[in-house]
Symmetry: C2
Subunit: 193 residues, 2 copies
Amino acid sequence: MEYQEGQRGTVLDIILLGGLNYLPMTGYELKQFIERSTAHFWHAQTSQIYRTLEKLEKEACVTSTIEEQTTRPDRRRYHITELGREKLRVWLEQPLTEIEPSKDTLLLKLFFAAQLDKTTILTQLRLQRALYQHLLTLHQTQTRQSIALSMEHNPALKRDGLMWDITRRLGELSAETYLRWLDESIQRIEDEF
Amino acid sequence: MEYQEGQRGTVLDIILLGGLNYLPMTGYELKQFIERSTAHFWHAQTSQIYRTLEKLEKEACVTSTIEEQTTRPDRRRYHITELGREKLRVWLEQPLTEIEPSKDTLLLKLFFAAQLDKTTILTQLRLQRALYQHLLTLHQTQTRQSIALSMEHNPALKRDGLMWDITRRLGELSAETYLRWLDESIQRIEDEF
DNA sequence: TTGTTATATATGCAAAGTGGAATATGATTA
DNA sequence: TAATCATATTCCACTTTGCATATATAACAA
């Protein structure tokens, strides 16, 4: 009664359709595609990918063909259909009208951390700091390069490249913010706790 | 084989135990507690809260007593047990050794948005901008005040107040970052798309 | 008086997601 | 030569989540 029902479409549906809209891939390749490109804002288990592909095939959003291989197990390559493209387009056009609630385990830990001792809290924060420092480096180098590489290979993807860089940029900014916040918080706990 | 198994403890377990560690509450009150205090980093459905409370009672982490009421439906008030406190403490002490993968639907939309037209993308981004602007205002006023209020009522919560403000602060910084990124992205799309 | 909101809890169902293991095999490396 | 890595998919048990709905009652507003 209150939405585009009948074909809601989960987020993973969309990632898979979005990937297959560039080129046909196997489940295995889609897993790698997700790890290379969307990992910083969405991830999925291998098993979930295969099950979702089956579901999408039932819904006629994708079709599949088996490729026989001699040296390796046979593999099933998925192709997007017109219906699939339509589903993708409809979902992309639909604006997000609210902010989705985020989930952050570290914040939860800190929220109830007053009962811990100072050193335990500080150790945990410093550990997170190291992890985020590493993540930031990744965003600034690796991810950026992989985008540049894709575009050299295929200049038709100019717009795509812009959009990919925009998503990459939020990852970078977020990591910077998180680091600043960690530093500030470590300082405050040292002084005020 | 590779973790503190037997009592893994989900995040919602911890929120409920953490809340009950301050004072005994009913399911209904816990729902409100979550909305007031942890909503910006974790949320939960009412049904999920009641079911998790039942589970925690089976595990002897909480006990419950029924309060008979004449004007309202009876209610069940939950109390944390020693085992519950222990579970909470163990979880809080355990450091997070990795960064949890985040999920962001807007980024997903942008990642595949190259096929949309410029106006559609810009409209969606401007809508998000308005939503985040509103969220930022909330963080800067409402949440801050509710923390100050809690501490006036109970000065013993000084440390808790510091930790609460630290979590609030990330909400504020994140909203600012998101806004800056939205502005920057709108600009880039206007110029380069 | 009729409808709505707030209090208070519970249930049922399906979809979504987790995590691990099973099953193959070729290529590489120590 | 043994180990393990990379390819490639599937299955299973389980938890979690979303969403709707049911059952009460009192207070309040239209």
